[in-house]
């Protein structure tokens, strides 16, 4: 008797088991997940990101930020995620509901970014960090994050320094007469980073004590990109 087809089916079924368990199973459970309403506040979670932040997510993908930065926080008591201030609770499925693609990452060559939007870093700090991370590395230590000068424009200063020019410390200042201005891509990326907040209280994580401003913070409101429209800084080198 010819057992060929039988063996073939057997092999195929054996190999398909991992598909049943790891793809079909999770998809049956989570594939139709929808935003949930918080019983106390009535707010829906998660919310879609602002248009600018969505553009930023694509910049994040194009430049492969997720090859060094994870976006997932473990539960309290496991590893040092909480002690490092990377999150107020563990991340769960709902936090990624509207992400396309989901960029949870698998490496921590850089710090976790699941809650970078909660860290009150300020637009100027984030822009400087993206422009050249050596500027923002603590205590002048060496960071191994690449710099992304191509997300910025170096242009001749016209009548006055632009309001959105980077406020570079002297050591990193561009040549006199020029200023560094973030391109649209850099602004979008910062808006995306500021929208990264996985802290909404959820039904499956009831132990969390919600902070007073939770509602406000979970709306993923478009990050105000004009916050660095502060006065042109004196540190910026001006033509003499």
């Amino acid at each position: 008797m010819n057992y060929g087809p039988l063996i073939f089916l057997g092999i195929f079924f054996t190999m398909s088991l991992s598909w049943l368990g790891l793809v079909l199973g999770p998809n049956l459970q989570l594939g139709k997940q929808a935003p949930e309403q918080n019983e106390k506040t009535g707010a829906l979670y998660p919310q879609t990101r602002s248009g600018l932040a969505q553009q930023g997510a694509q910049i994040y993908r194009e430049n492969g930020c997720f090859y060094c930065h994870s976006q997932q926080v473990g539960p309290k008591g496991f590893s040092s995620d909480f002690e490092r201030g990377w999150g107020e609770r563990r991340t769960v499925a709902a936090d990624y509901l509207f992400d396309q693609p989901v960029m949870a990452g698998s490496q921590r060559i850089g710090p976790d970014l699941a809650n970078v939007g909660l860290r009150q870093l300020g637009d100027n700090f984030l822009l400087l960090h993206i422009y050249n991370s050596q500027i923002t590395a603590p205590d002048g230590k060496k960071s191994n994050m690449p710099s992304y000068p191509y997300l910025f424009e170096k242009r001749k200063i016209g009548r006055a320094v632009s309001v959105d020019a980077l406020k570079l410390p002297e050591k990193f200042a561009s040549e006199p007469g020029y200023e560094i201005v973030p391109r649209q891509e850099a602004r979008a990326l910062v808006a995306y980073l500021r929208s990264l907040k996985a802290n909404a209280p959820l039904f499956e994580l009831p132990s969390l004590t919600p902070s007073t401003n939770v509602v406000e913070e979970t709306t993923n409101a478009p990050a105000a990109t004009d916050t660095n429209a502060a006065q042109p800084s004196a540190t910026n080198s001006t033509p003499k």
Binding site: V23, L97, P138
Partner: protein, 481 residues
């Protein structure tokens, strides 16, 4: 049964076969497509290892080539890995599979022109895909970064190659199967299925939210731990008996390893705390851990076949393949270790996990394929094999590179993990702690690059010699006529 299961690798032709083919005829029928696959594989290995060297330098000196949009870390890293898997590993596998199907089935490769076309398409697909990643069009899914305009080309090319390989298998005249054929045939079907399923579920009609994490993990582990592992192990089981001129130690261990890899290799090796319902990472970890069984079977079978083997002239090809088998065990054990809960706490997100891939792709798969290519290429070209000295030098460079890189970053990853878990160590100091290991790994990357260059040069010189030989022969016949 036992006599047939212990058959020699060449599968002695039975009396039922009306027409007997000599090995020489079979090899000649494979010449063009298999050699084209080998040369393309060598070129992509070189491309990938150049990118790998840049990646390795950038990790400790971020100012290296900084500011070039196309060469930023987040783009060359996936370009490097994808070129290694789809450019080198897949094409080397195609070449070796086709040759083995012909040799073990005692049949000719028919219509090689179609395979040449498929090889061209596949290479165009990889080139477009790599350029796409460097231009920033990556899909954002690890191991599946080729943009959606490159995948269909790869798909068509693979369909042609796969159909041809299956037809070649079907046309075999030697009905008895050697375990290698099981591995290679299953791998052929398996890649078609995982590549289609993953593209459908992630790119054509994306699943929602974190299910994407599951699908990506499923695809990655099937790609590396089932597809590539099955091919590599199958080839090991062919070459170790072949080169030592002994029967395979145990047919049943080989089959058990086959079922084990098929059943337990594809369970994702997910992080314990991935943002998923906890049954998913638990299932993944438990079943992934059982992968240790087939790995032990492979190790026992290689050991058993080699037991007591001593040769006056140690074959450098055998060394490469043995090192490949050793690296397979290392890589799979690293995988298993990293999903055990207390160890996962330390090792997740560190260089340890990415170095596991290095052991699997370079230590295991590349070594085995290099050995196979050195064995097969002279046969199909009908020229003398390269001097043993040349192959030995090459294998030593490759093995040294793999070990330096692999050991440095495995230990570096453990140090990084311990520091990461200690919240007293500031993050910037965690980074600082990895620099010595990253510097060491650059030396390994450089050696791997040199090994890639040597492979390409050796293959080209073989090709030239074959070309000259053809030329001389044709001249001779002209003179005679």
């Amino acid at each position: 049964m036992s006599s047939s299961t212990q058959q020699s690798c060449d599968g002695s032709p039975t009396a039922a076969n009306s027409e007997l083919l000599s090995s020489k005829e079979i090899d000649a029928s494979c010449r063009f497509p298999v050699f084209v696959f080998f040369i393309s594989a060598a070129i992509w290995f070189l491309v990938s290892s150049v990118l790998g060297l840049i990646v390795s330098i950038k990790l400790h000196s971020p100012n290296f080539l900084a500011g070039c949009e196309w060469l930023t870390y987040g783009r060359i890293r996936p370009a490097q890995l994808d070129a290694m898997v789809y450019g080198f590993a897949a094409q080397a596998a195609f070449g070796v599979t086709l040759w083995l199907f012909c040799r073990l089935g005692r049949t000719r490769l028919f219509a090689p022109g179609v395979l040449l076309l498929a090889a061209k398409l596949w290479n165009i697909g990889i080139a477009i895909g790599t350029a796409g990643i460097l231009a920033g069009h990556s899909t954002g899914f690890e191991w599946l970064e080729y943009p959606r305009y490159a995948s269909p080309i790869l798909f068509v090319a693979y369909a042609l190659i796969g159909i041809w390989a299956v037809l070649t298998f079907h046309a075999r005249r030697q009905q008895q199967l050697f375990p290698t054929q099981w591995y290679l045939l299953a791998a052929l079907f398996w890649f078609a299925w995982i590549y289609t399923a993953a593209n459908m579920l992630l790119i054509c009609a994306p699943v929602r939210g974190v299910v994407q994490i599951c699908v990506t993990a499923w695809y990655a582990s099937n790609l590396l731990n089932v597809w590539l592992s099955a091919i590599g192990v199958g080839v090991i089981f062919y070459f170790i008996p072949k080169l030592t001129n002994r029967p395979l130690h145990s047919y049943y261990l080989a089959l058990f390893a086959f079922w084990g890899i098929a059943l337990f290799g594809g369970w994702g090796f997910l992080n314990v705390n991935a943002p998923l319902p906890s049954w998913i990472p638990s299932l993944s970890a438990v079943l992934g851990t059982i992968m240790i069984l087939p790995v032990i079977c492979v190790a026992l079978n290689v050991r058993g076949t080699m037991a007591g083997y001593k040769s006056a002239v140690p074959s450098p090809i055998l060394n490469l393949i043995r090192f490949g088998a050793f690296s397979f065990v290392v890589a799979q054990l690293m995988n298993v270790v990293a999903v055990i809960r207390p160890l996962n706490e330390i090792l997740a997100f560190t260089y340890f996990t990415s170095t596991q891939t290095h052991w699997l792709l370079l230590g295991f798969f590349a070594s085995v394929m290099f050995g196979a290519i050195y064995y097969i290429a002279p046969l199909i070209l009908n020229v003398d094999p390269p001097a043993a000295k040349k192959i030995r030098l090459h294998s030593m460079v490759l093995i040294a590179g793999v070990i330096i890189y692999g050991v440095a970053l495995s230990i570096g990853g453990i140090v990084q993990g311990i520091n990461l878990n200690n919240s007293q160590v500031a993050f910037i100091d965690v980074v600082k702690g990895t620099f010595p290991f990253l510097h060491a790994s650059t030396i390994g990357s450089l050696l791997i690059l040199i090994a890639g260059l040597m492979l390409l040069l050796n293959l080209l010189s073989l090709g030239c010699r074959a070309g000259c030989g053809c030329f001389k022969n044709s001249k001779k016949s002209e003179v005679r006529s």
